[in-house]
């Protein structure tokens, strides 16, 4: 006799775990965006400021930063997370679980965000920077009070993009016993042949991404409108 699919799902009893997994995803992504976002901003500023014609033009530093970013950025996260496991053990004390996942996410996000930041900063018209120089502003002041504010609207869109990418990457956490919706969907949905669980996880992720994208768009548009 055929079993009706819905009656076969454990969705009903899994709800508390789903909400916990949602919380874990939010925590991982938030921590990553906070730490990786800050480090990425600094690294992106470094890329921007040291490039040819930049405020702190420095061919050597620029070359080193570019090699670093270009080395780490193309590595698929599923491999990256395994590759940096020794470093995770060294720095966060463990190679598995959510802390190790966050460590890997921070690193990956930092290099990705650095490029996004750099690409948006280069859109600031050189004339505006020249105007600030002509007023006697120091280079550090120009970077902090002209370059970053002038590029704020596209940078926010860039961070929104990165946020969605981090949600995507965080799904791989299960590989090293991290939590979150991604690994939950794999464990209790995919492996248990329970598509209902998988789809609930998918819908929660979609909702999360939608909210973030909406927030990013609104914020960016508000800055652009002025």
């Amino acid at each position: 006799m055929l079993t009706a699919l819905p009656t076969d799902t454990r969705l009903g009893e899994l709800w508390p775990d789903i909400w916990q997994a949602t919380g874990e995803t939010l925590l991982m992504v938030a921590l990553t965006m906070l730490i990786g976002g800050t480090l990425g901003l600094i690294l992106g500023l470094g890329l921007y400021l040291t490039r040819k014609g930049g405020l702190y033009e420095n061919a050597v530093v620029s070359f080193v930063l570019n090699v670093l970013v270009n080395f780490f950025r193309p590595i698929p996260f599923i491999i990256f997370i395994a590759a940096v496991q020794p470093a995770a053990r060294l720095i966060v004390g463990t190679g598995i679980g959510t802390p190790a996942v966050v460590f890997s996410l921070v690193l990956a996000a930092m290099f990705g965000i650095a490029r996004i930041v750099e690409q948006n900063l280069v859109t600031v018209p050189p004339g505006v920077i020249e105007a600030a120089r002509a007023m006697g502003a120091t280079r550090a002041r120009i970077a902090a009070t002209v370059v970053v504010p002038e590029a704020m609207a596209p940078v926010i869109l860039g961070y929104t993009f990165a946020f969605v990418a981090v949600v995507d990457m965080s799904a791989v956490a299960g590989l090293i016993a991290g939590g979150g919706l991604g690994s939950f969907a794999q464990t209790f949905g995919y492996r248990q042949y329970d598509p209902a669980v998988t789809w609930v996880c998918v819908l929660i992720l979609v909702a999360l991404v939608q909210v973030i994208q909406l927030l990013g768009n609104t914020l960016s548009a508000r800055i652009l409108r002025r």
Partner: protein, 348 residues
């Protein structure tokens, strides 16, 4: 900024100034500015004209050290700029305002925020900032735009904000880099009037880079013409306009003042107007038009103005008139001789 200059000493003094961009990958060495000597008196409006690539944009950036000179001497208010480090140049730049073709306003700041920026660098108190900004917004005629963002301003309004922002720190020198080149003729005229007002009311010395002779005619006291990095001709505007020596200068002057019709125009004019064509140069202090026309009327010569006209340059008369003279050959001969004795005349 106060200067220890005596009236006899120029505010800006350039001697043998050269700027060379070294050869780089796929690019030959570029001599942007070559051996330039120039004195600019305090309170003067100095125009520097030239086609794009003539080196004028580089030259103006040497005056506030945005670009370092390769060699020579650049003194502004008695201070030598050549050889100074960026750190040493910064306080000097507070005394030199600059405005730009593309305005270069901070889009992320309101008009107020734009004007406050240089004052914050100068370390001026909030109260003093407030006073200075509202004073300048009134001066440029935008008192109601304080809280507007630049993107909501027209081109002319943007340049007014640019001018106000450049004046906040009371500079003795204002550098204008193609300040009206992005504006339509009517707005250009308004901005030039405002700059003239800045010069007259605050005594601000202005160095205006331009490729538009209109700017020179309306604004400048002195003009220097640049070509291939060199100043090829310079002097008071009226003198340069009335007796341009270099071909490049003649081309520039020709854009605002009709000299004589070119061969094509001349042929077309001859087809429509009978008689002999004579070009007369009228200059300030020379014979009046009535004296010239009397000569023709007395001999019963019919005449028409077929080309040229009278201009006003810095309050002085300036004109090139091409007349078609029609009458008995002997009378016309005599009239041409007599006219030539009065003013520079040339038969075409």
């Amino acid at each position: 900024m106060t200067h220890s200059t005596t009236p006899a000493e120029p505010l800006v003094r350039l001697r043998g100034v050269t700027k060379t961009y070294p050869a780089a990958k796929g690019r030959k060495e570029v001599q942007a500015v070559v051996d330039v000597d120039l004195d600019i008196a305090a309170g003067d409006v100095q125009a520097i004209v030239g086609y794009s690539g003539a080196g004028k944009s580089t030259l103006v950036r040497l005056l506030n050290g945005l670009e370092p000179a390769t060699s020579g001497s650049i003194q502004v208010g008695g201070t030598e700029l050549v050889g100074l480090r960026e750190r040493q140049l910064r306080p000097i730049r507070l005394g030199i305002g600059m405005i730009f073709q593309q305005f270069n306003l901070f889009e992320s700041r309101t008009v107020w925020g734009n004007l406050a920026y240089p004052l914050q660098i100068a370390g001026v108190t909030k109260a003093e900032q407030q006073r200075r900004i509202s004073e300048l917004l009134h001066f440029v005629g935008l008192p109601d735009k304080a809280h507007t963002y630049p993107r909501n301003l027209s081109g002319g309004q943007k340049q007014r904000v640019g001018i106000a922002r450049a004046l906040t720190t009371n500079p003795s020198l204002l550098l204008a880099d193609e300040a009206t080149s992005a504006l339509d003729p009517e707005t250009t005229h308004e901005v030039l009037r405002l700059l003239k007002q800045v010069n007259e009311e605050f005594g601000t010395t202005i160095v205006a880079i331009t490729h538009e002779m209109e700017v020179v005619r309306e604004l400048a006291d002195h003009v220097a013409v640049m070509e291939n990095g060199r100043i090829v001709e310079s002097g008071p505007v009226y003198e340069v306009f009335s007796a341009p020596r270099q071909p490049v200068t003649r081309r520039f002057v020709g854009t605002v003042i009709d000299d004589e019709p070119d061969p094509d125009a001349l042929a077309a004019l001859r087809a429509r107007h009978p008689g002999r064509f004579v070009k007369l140069e009228l200059r300030e202090g020379g014979p009046r038009q009535t004296d010239i026309f009397t000569v023709l009327l007395e001999r019963g010569i019919a005449f028409e103005l077929v080309f040229g006209g009278i201009e006003d340059i810095q309050g002085a008369t300036f004109g090139n008139l091409t007349l078609a003279l029609d009458g008995p050959a002997a009378s016309v001969d005599e009239a041409v001789r007599e006219l030539a004795a009065l003013v520079p005349a040339k038969e075409l």
